[in-house]
């Protein structure tokens, strides 16, 4: 399989902002995405990152929130925002307009006061509504159990009291602190001319003054400890079961071998992975069962998490099946056929994951953040080719600890 080739160019503006461009011809579509190195891990006011994301589009530059939304929609565009930036999609012809909006969001956000109040109230409702979502509740409980004093232990919104303490000033100061040129990556992909994009961006953002960004130290999450079990009894049709312990960072040398493991154990295509084949296909115990250690790996450690939703009378059996599958991958090499299938799956995923302009912009940001280099697709495929069953087993032994998996079971238990 031939690796996808990225046609890219990297610029650094005089103020320190990094601009990543990719020419992508699939359709007359332009994607603009930013990544600001901020987020929940650096919060000093719990929930401020998520709240900033909610109100980042609440006015910018000379436009009110409604005017901004209408202007974007009038061009057929879309905008999504988060505490670490935003993503926009437009038709290619609207490149200058899109960059103008991006500059306003980065440098001149409105943070309309009434929007902050509205979003705070909605977030409080959403926190309460999560009581209705059994799987989500179980997942949050697992985070709380495994992350200790690390910021990821808490809900992204913080608690209700945290939310009530966030006002426009708190949001504005988070934005001012982190949304600085030297702390910002901006990626643009589509039918673009690199020099034209560079010039337009330099005109729109070149005079954005750079202030130094100080980032608080992030507490380390607790090391993997003894297995714990939390049974939470609520009236539901199903038991939502999570098994988990601390996982890895994206930069971990074992990331690739563990990606292969994920594809074999619990995140393969269709229902070909071991857990789906056994728990769903063979035993008919569940509609949804999965496991992964790489999907949550980022700058901070993620989690190894296995999930199954099943009938109350079957949850302990399902847990035993998951534990047996985890023990097996840690104790015996996976087969050559499984390795080959996982390699093919992961290599092809590179192609599937780079189809749209938005996909490419997202990939540019990941490549820059994790120091992968623009040749990443080709290197990735080469490295995949040499992953062996032993590599997978050794990585599994280093990072998966079946006897230390904490259990969260929520439902009629």
């Amino acid at each position: 399989m031939k690796p996808p080739e990225l046609n890219t160019r990297r610029f650094v503006l005089q103020n320190g902002m990094t601009l990543l461009c990719a020419r992508h011809d699939a359709a007359p579509v332009l994607a603009v995405r930013t990544f600001v190195d901020a987020g929940q891990r650096f919060e000093t006011s719990p929930g401020v990152s998520a709240m900033t994301g909610r109100v980042l589009g609440a006015g910018a530059g000379e436009r009110t929130e409604t005017e901004l939304c209408e202007a974007i929609e009038f061009q057929g565009g879309t905008l999504e925002t988060s505490g670490v930036g935003f993503g926009m999609k437009f038709l290619s012809r609207d490149m200058e307009f899109a960059i103008g909006i991006a500059a306003d969001l980065l440098c001149r956000p409105g943070f309309d006061k009434s929007a902050v109040e509205r979003e705070r109230r909605i977030a409080l409702s959403e926190l309460q509504a999560e009581g209705d979502r059994a799987r989500q509740r179980a997942s949050l409980k697992l985070n709380a159990e495994l992350y200790g004093d690390h910021p990821f232990a808490r809900h992204a919104y913080g608690s209700a009291d945290d939310l009530r303490a966030i006002d426009r000033d708190v949001v504005d100061s988070y934005h001012t602190r982190f949304f600085q040129p030297g702390n910002t990556l901006l990626a643009i992909a589509g039918r673009i001319d690199f020099d034209e994009v560079h010039e337009t961006i330099a005109n729109a953002l070149g005079d954005w003054p750079d202030l130094p960004v100080s980032k608080p130290a992030v507490r380390e999450p607790p090391k993997i400890g003894a297995a714990r079990e939390h049974l939470i009894t609520v009236a539901r049709e199903q038991v939502h079961l999570y098994l988990g312990h601390l996982g890895i960072r994206r930069t971990d040398p074992d990331y690739l071998a563990l990606s292969v493991l994920d594809a074999i154990l619990g995140s393969g295509a269709g229902f070909s992975d071991r857990l789906s084949a056994r728990v769903r296909d063979e035993l008919g115990l569940a509609y949804t069962v999965n496991a992964t250690i790489t999907s949550s790996a980022g700058m901070e450690p993620g989690l190894f998490r296995a999930y199954v939703g099943c009938a109350p009378e079957n949850w302990q059996r399902a847990r035993e099946e998951i534990l047996a599958a985890v023990r097996r991958v840690a104790s015996e090499p996976v087969s050559n056929e499984e390795i080959e299938a996982a390699r093919a799956h992961l290599a092809a995923s590179l192609l599937f994951d780079l189809q749209t302009a938005e996909d490419v912009a997202i990939a540019l940001l990941a490549i820059e953040r994790f120091g992968l280099g623009f040749e990443h697709p080709a290197h990735y495929m080469k490295r995949l080719d040499v992953v062996t069953p032993d590599d997978v087993m050794m990585a599994t032994r280093r990072h998966l600890h079946p006897d230390a998996l904490t259990t969260i079971a929520l439902g009629p238990v």
Partner: protein, 435 residues
């Protein structure tokens, strides 16, 4: 004999095999990938008494093996080729898809040809899959939105093929037998009732030759006669469901129009201007004013009567009657005055761009073509840009007046047990029941 006809307005060529299988091919060179979709013209709306949930059950069993492919082999081969597969069941059709590196196209074609005539329904596999589907039903039942959907569908379409859950109810699924499934398969999974769409980095001529070789050998079979589901005999309704939930949620249905109806595009426009984004009418009126946390709307057209739906999540303790009043008054305003010129233009641009965004991947393109060919009309799909361009504010107002009429509304609230849902708009007690 393969007839290859380019569509005048779509990047697709249409062929038909002698056994009736329709084949659509579309070349996308952006990536070395291919997307293969098989749409069968049967869905939950075609299920008779005792069959409710059978179309969906069959969709699951289509991955469990054939006379040639043992259980698990479809997924194993797909995975080994670097691809993925999936399927879903709708009211009017059942769709299967493969996404593969282009060089593995043949795999998807072989599997689809094989399972079109050689599906094996092993009793033990059937039992295991019944367990999976019962868990799928439980997952839906554990969600307040899933329970609301089931109730409002029933109220909108009483004793009607569109009125039961696509998954079926637990008692239905527990009563299914392998022979019932085989009979359903024989009746509906025929070449003449199927549309195959292949989009991607393909050699169109070679691809069609291979399709002919694999599918041309499948004997033509009689397909069950398919009637258009009748208009529902439902009446306006309003129910309050007292549930173990934390926040009130609303689902509102208006029985709507069939595919290709003149109101189809204006209603899509109405859904967009009512609830798409923070500049939309319902967002500004209901979310900005603190009545709702979320609101969405969409227009779903079908072979028979479609549904225009609005769903919402309210703040805890919200005044439900006030929400309904505000909501219906916005709908009435739209029906009376239609959209302003600039609003209409904005929505039109948004829908036009949305269609272009769908052309970025061969999978989205193929899915849309398959849906158009099997449920809608391919020509109407091709005419969409013109229908959108020629739509007027008056068209939107008329569609809203005809469809989004309060006297036709079917709605239900899921509300916290013991909560006060406030007076109903018509003064009837809030304890539930249809009106």
């Amino acid at each position: 004999m393969v007839l290859l006809v380019p569509h005048p307005k779509l990047p697709v060529r249409i062929s038909s095999l002698e056994n009736g299988l329709r084949v659509l091919t579309s070349v996308h060179r952006a990536a070395p990938l291919v997307s293969v979709w098989m749409h069968y013209g049967v869905g939950s709306g075609d299920e008779g008494p005792g069959e409710r949930g059978l179309a969906h059950f069959l969709e699951h069993m289509m991955f469990k093996g054939t006379a040639r492919l043992p259980k698990g082999e479809i997924d194993r081969l797909t995975h080994k080729s670097g691809g993925h597969n999936n399927a879903y069941t709708m009211c009017d059709a059942t769709a299967y898809d493969f996404g593969l590196p282009a060089e593995s196209l043949d795999l998807a074609l072989r599997i689809e040809a094989d399972r079109m005539e050689n599906l094996r329904i092993d009793p033990s596999e059937f039992e295991a899959e019944r367990g999976v589907i019962l868990e799928e039903i439980s997952t839906a039942q554990d969600s307040p939105e899933g329970r609301l959907q089931e109730r409002v569908d029933t109220l909108t379409f009483p004793n009607h093929p569109y009125g039961h859950p696509i998954l079926g109810r637990r008692t239905d699924v527990e009563a299914f037998t392998p022979s019932g499934l085989e009979s359903f398969y024989s009746r509906w999974y025929t070449p003449a009732n199927a549309t195959l769409v292949i989009a991607g980095d393909i050699d169109e001529e070679a691809c069609l030759a291979r399709v002919h070789e694999l599918f041309g050998a499948i004997a033509a079979r009689e397909t069950a006669e398919r009637s258009v589901p009748p208009a529902p005999a439902g009446r306006p309704a309003r129910e309050i469901l007292r549930e173990p939930v934390e926040v009130p949620r609303l689902l509102l249905h208006f029985p709507s129009v069939a595919v290709s109806d003149p109101h189809e595009v204006p209603l899509e426009c109405a859904a967009t201007l009512l609830a798409s984004g923070r500049s939309s009418r319902l967002y500004r009126r209901l979310v900005n004013e603190g009545l709702l946390a979320h609101v969405r709307a969409d227009s779903e057209t079908r072979r028979g009567t479609g549904v225009f739906w609005i769903d919402a999540e309210a703040h805890p303790g919200a005044d439900l009657a006030a929400i309904e009043e505000a909501l219906f008054s916005e709908l009435a305003n739209l029906a009376a005055d239609g959209p302003a010129d600039r609003e209409l233009e904005r929505v039109r641009h948004s829908l036009e761009a949305g269609r272009i965004y769908r052309t970025e991947t061969c999978a989205d393109s193929a899915e849309d073509l398959g849906d158009a060919a099997s449920v809608r009309a391919l020509d109407a799909f091709g005419d969409y840009p013109e229908r959108l361009a020629s739509m007027t504010a008056k068209d939107v107002a008329e569609a809203a007046a005809d469809v989004l009429d309060r006297d036709r509304a079917v709605l239900a609230w899921s509300t916290p047990e013991g909560g006060d849902s406030g007076p109903t708009p018509d003064g009837v007690g809030a304890a539930g029941g249809s009106r």
